[in-house]
Assembly symmetry: D3
Homo-oligomer: 250 residues x 6
Amino acid sequence: MRLDGRQPNELRAMTITPNYIKHAEGSVLIEVGETKVICTATVEERVPPFMKGQGKGWVTAEYSMLPRATQVRNQREAARGKLGGRTMEIQRLIGRALRSVVNLEALGERSITLDCDVIQADGGTRTTSITGAFVAMTLAMAKLVKDGKLKVIPITDFLASVSVGVVNDKAYLDLKYEEDSSAKVDMNVVMTGTGKFVELQGTGEESPFTHSELDTLIKLAQQGIQQMVAEQQKALGEELTARIGKGQAE
Amino acid sequence: MRLDGRQPNELRAMTITPNYIKHAEGSVLIEVGETKVICTATVEERVPPFMKGQGKGWVTAEYSMLPRATQVRNQREAARGKLGGRTMEIQRLIGRALRSVVNLEALGERSITLDCDVIQADGGTRTTSITGAFVAMTLAMAKLVKDGKLKVIPITDFLASVSVGVVNDKAYLDLKYEEDSSAKVDMNVVMTGTGKFVELQGTGEESPFTHSELDTLIKLAQQGIQQMVAEQQKALGEELTARIGKGQAE
Amino acid sequence: MRLDGRQPNELRAMTITPNYIKHAEGSVLIEVGETKVICTATVEERVPPFMKGQGKGWVTAEYSMLPRATQVRNQREAARGKLGGRTMEIQRLIGRALRSVVNLEALGERSITLDCDVIQADGGTRTTSITGAFVAMTLAMAKLVKDGKLKVIPITDFLASVSVGVVNDKAYLDLKYEEDSSAKVDMNVVMTGTGKFVELQGTGEESPFTHSELDTLIKLAQQGIQQMVAEQQKALGEELTARIGKGQAE
Amino acid sequence: MRLDGRQPNELRAMTITPNYIKHAEGSVLIEVGETKVICTATVEERVPPFMKGQGKGWVTAEYSMLPRATQVRNQREAARGKLGGRTMEIQRLIGRALRSVVNLEALGERSITLDCDVIQADGGTRTTSITGAFVAMTLAMAKLVKDGKLKVIPITDFLASVSVGVVNDKAYLDLKYEEDSSAKVDMNVVMTGTGKFVELQGTGEESPFTHSELDTLIKLAQQGIQQMVAEQQKALGEELTARIGKGQAE
Amino acid sequence: MRLDGRQPNELRAMTITPNYIKHAEGSVLIEVGETKVICTATVEERVPPFMKGQGKGWVTAEYSMLPRATQVRNQREAARGKLGGRTMEIQRLIGRALRSVVNLEALGERSITLDCDVIQADGGTRTTSITGAFVAMTLAMAKLVKDGKLKVIPITDFLASVSVGVVNDKAYLDLKYEEDSSAKVDMNVVMTGTGKFVELQGTGEESPFTHSELDTLIKLAQQGIQQMVAEQQKALGEELTARIGKGQAE
Amino acid sequence: MRLDGRQPNELRAMTITPNYIKHAEGSVLIEVGETKVICTATVEERVPPFMKGQGKGWVTAEYSMLPRATQVRNQREAARGKLGGRTMEIQRLIGRALRSVVNLEALGERSITLDCDVIQADGGTRTTSITGAFVAMTLAMAKLVKDGKLKVIPITDFLASVSVGVVNDKAYLDLKYEEDSSAKVDMNVVMTGTGKFVELQGTGEESPFTHSELDTLIKLAQQGIQQMVAEQQKALGEELTARIGKGQAE
């Protein structure tokens, strides 16, 4: 039995509150167990210098934790004067993952910045950020369509993410903080709604793992992500859900 | 008539949700109109180097806005690699204001850091931060008493803050963003529960003001702050309210 | 009796030496008691990016102290790699105060930077900087008129600043360092030549203050600033003095 | 046929020159095709603050590229004043990978820093760094044994790394730069000498991939890493090779 | 004839005002022509970490220019967030030069920091800083003797510095800004009172120079420095002058 | 007799390997005794902002040491977030020295950046960098001629550099690390192939030196540099050697 009474293959309770921040073009508060992340999507009618003049758009992400999102207070990166390696790694991952389901040509020369701010952390903040940012991005693109700037939502598939790991020699889905801290193997998986891998990051710093353990973990993740996509669809509503992946194959 | 239908001397609706973040020793979500700030209080059993060995505690504050708390996205200070002047000015103000009602000797050699993170901004973010941080700090100190580390809550008085200003030649209480932007005179006032001034910062960059205008603004602020203190007392409850300012005169 | 034998409402001796630095368009050495500040005004035929294309000018300020301006040596901010909060707060104040008496439209798309460098500090460095910077700015604008770039000096009024405070339960004008350190209430006031407030920053971190104490302090400041303006006029000379505030109402 | 005439499952030529830098406790020049990396191992008789007093050692890594290791010159991170996200991500990966085969208790309270400096880049710089750093670390530990500071080399297994990817719909081993740039799926794999996974980082930003494609790539990597370990053993010599993984199971 | 009417081997007018800044243990305002530098000497009863426990003292220097010391305003290094290469080069030179005439063992475990702040620049700011800093340092050491912390002034010889250069094919002593800008060869020389070289930095970026040209320049410098030392002695007075170099041979 | 058995006027063994890095327009590995430096020359078809529109080119340099080039590991400047004073001083010297033999007008509006990365240090890293960078720069310019972008190599003379010093009261040529550390006088000399001085930096921090000692050192350097130029010519080959200094007098 797990710490919070879950089955090994059971997700934590998940809630997505759309339009949580009034100024953003798209936003959600996503809660996965006690992990809470505010995701906002900002649309800007320009692209970064390295993308200029290609007729394509850009999607990027930033990630941060409030100082007291964690059990012990973390010094602000703004006060330290630089981003830490973990932050950079996570925000590169979020951006890369989201771009994998966006048709950048169809987006046109504009950029969408996903800000993922963890206000309370209990494991899985990067995977929760991806899952929430996908919804915020979709809402922002739906607004672009509504405002007449785009004809269709340039998203090719749903996208969600979950962690899996080996804890006490058992494969667990969706690790909370205490599980994550004691996991021998730890893996973050990002998949599309149609079940393909976008990112796979597995680490066995504590204990190397076999090909067969890898398979078990991957299947757990696959199942969890399907449920997460269903939650995303509930939050977006039937009408918006139906407009994703329609006629925008890259 | 004001933009949102308020009377000149009318505060916006105000909600304080205590214990909003589970890890912090004290925390609130404070909402004043559409301005929303998460305030957490972190207790650490040490003081900064310049305070060591004096047998006294320390109270300090940090302030930040999420990038999309505002109408237009602001670049993160962590990404820019340094805190802006406005941020530094505000966090110095919050810390100074809170220290004015804390008996630092009675607190003992420990420090309390108030983190004020604006998740949605609509004017008055610094004054709202002070009003919310006071409650978060009180909750953290009550926990210190409960844990047997302090005998009484070392707070000498209530403390709240509000903005006032001259907009269209009229004196207004509690400016929202559009009012603040067009104010000729803009003043932030911090007062104690017993009606004394702790901070007074008035600026007439657009138009210098007279002694008589100053008096009018100050009286408006005084009245608003009394109502805010009543809200703080409601959020803290009768029992905690009764323990503030008891027998800890400096 | 005060430390240096002054009456409570007595300013320190004040000297303004115009044209102290040969390269600057305007400059002074201002001495208020033992506080000495070099103020230079630099004119540049461009405005910062956020002001471009508005047909208006800009006035801004920078403030610094030499490492040994103080009793104990301060590390250089250049060596630390960033500006401190106190520096930022002060330079924002100086810039804001000076802009309040400049007609930016009449200045045209050019900017004036006031550099206030404290070479010796004995209390009141920010107020002395404002008082000195006003004269340096006026000299630089007079040069613009002389060079045919402006028709009139686009300054609407005189401007000076002084500190007041409550020390040993007495209200004192123009605090020197030891008085400032032991003040229960400390206030910096910026006023125009015609007696209106531009900035009012009062702090009672040590002891909250009443409305009536506020009134006493403000009146002290008002009287001191009138004397300071007289010194500015003496430094500028009759002819230049007569050209300030003439026909440039905003 | 691949650009350089290799078979899909063929590694590039690989050379490891031990003791390349005379000052370091361990060092190699590793060349994989045209990618060349200098790896040095520095032993210090102290651990970082967060490891103090635990009786354990620490292994960490830093990674950099000379400005002209690449086709176009890259600005130095020292000149830019901060490490980029890619650099941080890579050096975290190298350190984590190496720690997975070190018995930190047996190492004792000392630290080993692996510096991986790419002097010429042609794809696979992070995997080449790991493969080379393993040898440099082993040499440094052998020196600790020789100097009487350790009884045995506290390494539990060999460790090497290679990239694999899908290029033109074919699975390729050990991508050179042009292949890497056009890969639809790109994966870095770190494995032990006994064939277990330590790190698996797969990205399908250009095109999501299936479980079956994942299997194909992983098998390619497994085969390549076995050959790389053989090269490491050749560079270390029979005697040293025989001393790795002997009696130091964690 | 030179721009300002001087002979090729003629120094500019030079004035040294001792005790210019009241807080510093030693200070001067040094003026060489229109170049003006404030030099302060700060004594601290500690040495930097790398000098600890050696029973020796340390002498170091920092150099800066006010933004408007020059014809065109320079951005502050504090605002840019880092020291420029020129600044670092100069402050390393000043510290090294001064240490060459100090008996660090006799100074004891304390440090002297020379701050050289250029308030007006007209060529020769680094050489003027050295010449002035020598006097400020001497005054600070005399104070240490007076306070009973040292028995003798631990200075082994006088020290001054001047620039020489080839301008319009003529060798000139003590270049002012316009001469310096057009010099084909430019050399800064630091010498002791007894005529030995401490630093020699000659640059022929515009035009390489011969051994014979070098000799001419060096002799010019030698003569100028003798006159400068005489000025230093005048500023220090006979009594202090007599105490330098007495019985403290290293 | 010297530590490594050399005569006082004997250079260490010197090897220059041209075209060491395949991506750079010009590159060498230069070894002087155990000091090893990789020098690359990067050509870019643009000049820095301050050189724009003058029809002239620019030559600049950057210098760095790998962390373990030295006996004790040095922290990376990229990790510290800024360049040290020594690095800045050296790279300014290298750039200035090389520019002295380049006809910038003939180079045209393009820039050449010399990166000098010390992979192993044993004294004389800055002089070795200059000597190597000269060859890398020449190779890059020969490529510009070959590519039809220039008609002749715009270099006016050969250029090399060596250190000399007084060690144990003897004048030595080409100091290795231990000699350099114990030298009383230390001088770096940069000369042209025709025997003129470009840079002369002598320091007697440990012991001031006389004009006659200076002469002795300079003659040693002159002789050493002639031998170094011969090595440069050998590395470049007869044909290229013959094309340097031909018809490009400034």
